[in-house]
Symmetry: C2
Subunit: 215 residues, 2 copies
C-alpha cells in the first residue's frame, strides 16, 4: 500500500546482507522500477534492465530467468519493506492516514503502484505475487481495527466482531476506484471522507460477523 | 457497468440504422471484443480485426484509423446500449442488484469489462472514453438515490442532500477492488454486504453535502 523506494535486504541465509549479491539485487530492481515507470510492462526486457542496472546480462538471466521472475521479485521486495500502519489514536484518523498514504502512492508520477497493478492484468505470476502482498498488508492493518475495538469505537457484542478485511476494503477501495479505475484527478478530501464513511458503516454493524466464521 | 453484448445502432444521421454501415460497425466491434477477450490489447491489430470481422482492411482503416480509434468506438458503443438502473423498491435492494450486475460482468470469462480497464492503463484515448462512460453511468444511477430520498430512506435536512456519486462509488468500489485489483475469487455475499455498508454510511450522513456544492 506504500511506494517501495527503500532497498530491501536479501534474506537468503547464504548471502551476506549488504554484500555484493544484495547490491546487485538492489541495482536490478531499481532498474525494473525505472523501466516500468517509463515504458510500462510492455517495454520491460531482460536486456533493458541489465543495461540500465549496469549488471551483466548473464547474471540477470541466471538469477531472475525471465521478465516474470523480475516482476515477482519486485513485488516480493515491496513486501519486505518495514512498514507500520498508522497509529493516530482513532480509527477515523488511522484510516484517513492510510488513505492519504495510498493516494500519495497512486498520484506520484511515475507511480510504481499503478505500474504493478497494470502488469498484474497481463501476468498471472505477477497477479499472484501482488495478491500475496495485499493479503500481508491487510493482515498488518488488522491491528487498526483491534485497537479501535479496544478503545470502544466499534460494536463488540460477543460473539460478534468487526471483520477487519471488509472494513479495510470499504475504507480504501474508493481511493483506488477514483484514481486507478476512473483515472480521475485526486480529490484531497476523499481520504478522510472515505475513512469516515467506512467508520460510520462499521459503527452501524455493517462489518460485524460471528466470531467463529470471521478472519 | 454492464457487459455490452448487444449491437448498438449507428446514430449518425446520414446513415440508415440497420443499414450496411451499421452492420459493418457491429461486425468490426464484435471482432474487437473477441480479439480483446482472447489476447488482450497487446494482441489487437487492425489486420486481425479486419480478418475476424470479414471486412476489407481499407474500410477498417478509413473508418477507425488506428487501434485507438477502435477502442474509443467500442467504449462509445457500450454507452449507447439501453441500460436501466435497477428499481427494486429499496436503496439496499437497488445497490445489491447493481453490484450483482457488476460482479457478473467482471466474473464472466472472457470479461469485456476487465479487458477495457486493462486497456485504459495503456491508452490515454481509451482512458478518456472510459471516464466518460463511467460518468454517464453514475449520472444514470443518481435516480436510485433520488428515489431513496423520496421514500425517506436517507437523511434530507434542508439544505443537505446525499451526494449520489460518492454513495455509488462507496457501494460499488469493493466489488471492483475484490475482483479487478485483488484478483480474488468472487464472493457471492459481497454485492449485498457492500450495498448494506454503503446504505448504513449514507443513513449516518456520511455522504451528505450542502445542496449548493453538491452535484
Amino acid at each position: 500500500m506504500t511506494d517501495p523506494s527503500a532497498t530491501p535486504p536479501d534474506h537468503r541465509p547464504d548471502r551476506r546482507p549488504g554484500g555484493r549479491t544484495a547490491r546487485v539485487r538492489a541495482q536490478v530492481l531499481d532498474a525494473v522500477r525505472a523501466e516500468l515507470a517509463e515504458g510500462g510492462h510492455e517495454g520491460l526486457t531482460m536486456e533493458g534492465v541489465a543495461t540500465r542496472a549496469g549488471v551483466h546480462r548473464a547474471t540477470v538471466y541466471r538469477r531472475w530467468r525471465d521478465v516474470g521472475g523480475l516482476l515477482v521479485d519486485l513485488i516480493a521486495a515491496a513486501g519486505e519493506i518495514e512498514w507500520q500502519p498508522p497509529d493516530t489514536g482513532s480509527l477515523r484518523g488511522d484510516l484517513t492516514a492510510l488513505n492519504q498514504e495510498i493516494q500519495q502512492s497512486l498520484v506520484v508520477r511515475p507511480s510504481f503502484a499503478v505500474a504493478l497493478m497494470a502488469v498484474s492484468f497481463h501476468s498471472e505470476q505477477a497477479a499472484q505475487a501482488q495478491r500475496k502482498l495485499w493479503a500481508d498488508r491487510y493482515a498488518q492493518c488488522a491491528v487498526l481495527v483491534e485497537r479501535a475495538a479496544e478503545r470502544g469505537e466499534l460494536p463488540s457484542p460477543v460473539p460478534l466482531h468487526t471483520d477487519a478485511r471488509s472494513l479495510l476494503i470499504a475504507a480504501t477501495a474508493p481511493i483506488y476506484h477514483q484514481l486507478v479505475l476512473l483515472h480521475d484527478d485526486p480529490d484531497p478530501g476523499l481520504p478522510e471522507r472515505a475513512a469516515e464513511a467506512a467508520v460510520s458503516a462499521a459503527v452501524a454493524g455493517a462489518f460485524s460477523v460471528a466470531r467463529e466464521s470471521g478472519g
